[in-house]
Symmetry: C2
Subunit: 296 residues, 2 copies
Amino acid sequence: MDLKAYLAQRREMIDRALEEALPEEHGLAQMLDRAMRYSLFAGGKRLRPILCLAGAETVGGSPEAAMPAAVALEMIHTYSLIHDDLPFMDDDDLRRGRATSHKVFGEALAILAGDGLLTEGLGQLARAGLKGLVPPDRALAALDVIARAAGKKGMIAGQVVDMESEGREVDETVVRFIHNHKSGALIAASVTSGAILGGGGESQIEAINYYGRSIGLAFQITDDILDIEGDPELMGKETGGDEDRCKATYPGVAGRDRSWEVAQEMVAEGRAALSVFGREADSLREIASYFLTRRK
Amino acid sequence: MDLKAYLAQRREMIDRALEEALPEEHGLAQMLDRAMRYSLFAGGKRLRPILCLAGAETVGGSPEAAMPAAVALEMIHTYSLIHDDLPFMDDDDLRRGRATSHKVFGEALAILAGDGLLTEGLGQLARAGLKGLVPPDRALAALDVIARAAGKKGMIAGQVVDMESEGREVDETVVRFIHNHKSGALIAASVTSGAILGGGGESQIEAINYYGRSIGLAFQITDDILDIEGDPELMGKETGGDEDRCKATYPGVAGRDRSWEVAQEMVAEGRAALSVFGREADSLREIASYFLTRRK
């Protein structure tokens, strides 16, 4: 398959759905909508929604069936970036080559835009179930998976431990905790919620969840490596930021070679979990391998 | 009915459910749980969950049927207080007689604790539907109502316009917008989601929603009046804060007498909307009247 064309086509499909889900608004609180849209339409890779739609296809569902979860995931991912970029968190001025939300709108509106995206993401998934666009029980199961991954035992826990670890001596276990929670959980929830909305059976969903957890870790390790070796122009942000901020990173605790080894291992494990599927899992397979060659 | 005893009994019931929903945790991210619990168990009045359970009873449901929504509402209300108290928002050091979250845990953890409460609130309501503790379609309908009220066209819009109005000349229309959105929307969603989970019919839910919107405005107007005339000791916070910060308030734009008139009118309208119900709506009636006599 032509992965590049596939990703571009999916990005377009997802952007259309996001545009529908968060149209421009006029009214007293329009600055809020502007701030939400500023970050949601900032040229993201749409990795999580792409994985979500691919999860649905892998179990024989249509990508459209998973779109409400895909939209929720991108909104939630975007909210987490806005909040993480704040001065007292990771303090980033640049994201995807553009000024971060609080730089443009101020801290207050940035926080509220994040809050709005999180609420809207989960809300519109519930609405899709209510309207029968997706079966109600599947909508609830997807909401459960996504809220867990985004919540206090998932993404937010990862951010807390990540912040607490700055400038401290930590070991590989802690870095794994951070990566598995801060980014791995939502990546796993992306394919898993897709498989749920696509109508997958229990063992299929389990296999896809295992795939998601494996490639989630691989993704974050390659992210750490790109922060050292990547091209700032391609990535739309300065490299070397992790080291400057004494961030806990995989190369930092395990060395570059071991990190690369683990990333490769995780991709192999993720692909192996897909052995129960035939050609319909090819997109998930290709995406996993792409993590090892990506340059941004 | 003995309203004081009723409220105390309900508070206790709700506190037990909240304790179950957010137990103490140990682990790498335990500071997050501590921050979430610090604000959730800070002696709140539990007004929104009480209204939610009363909404269920009014349509003939059991209060237990509405508990997952009640828990979600209190978590979401608490998250909004944490974020609103932040320095670049309303900048409050004291809430319910205790130091606010960012004063104790720092800005970063306060923001994340808020994020966690919002995610957990909506997530556990979805989970209740998934497990069949409440019927799936009702869980989705309650999620929809609550997410709308909490989101970009509800509470968050109210906070945005409230902040933008500080120090500016605004009129009664703008203050009404702020009050109806910042606090009214979630109060209305409280009784409405309760009526939904209690199994109310469409016209019953409509009547209860009208009641909620009316008393939501009344509550916020009396809040403004209490900020001028209330007893700081009873309220657990300094009074006069609205004026110090040049906040848009009802007495500020319409005068004390007109404000009082509107509050009374709103309570009367709210009670009138309940005329389709018999004695089973007495708790909602009493709560509405209590807004006019409350001292904190």
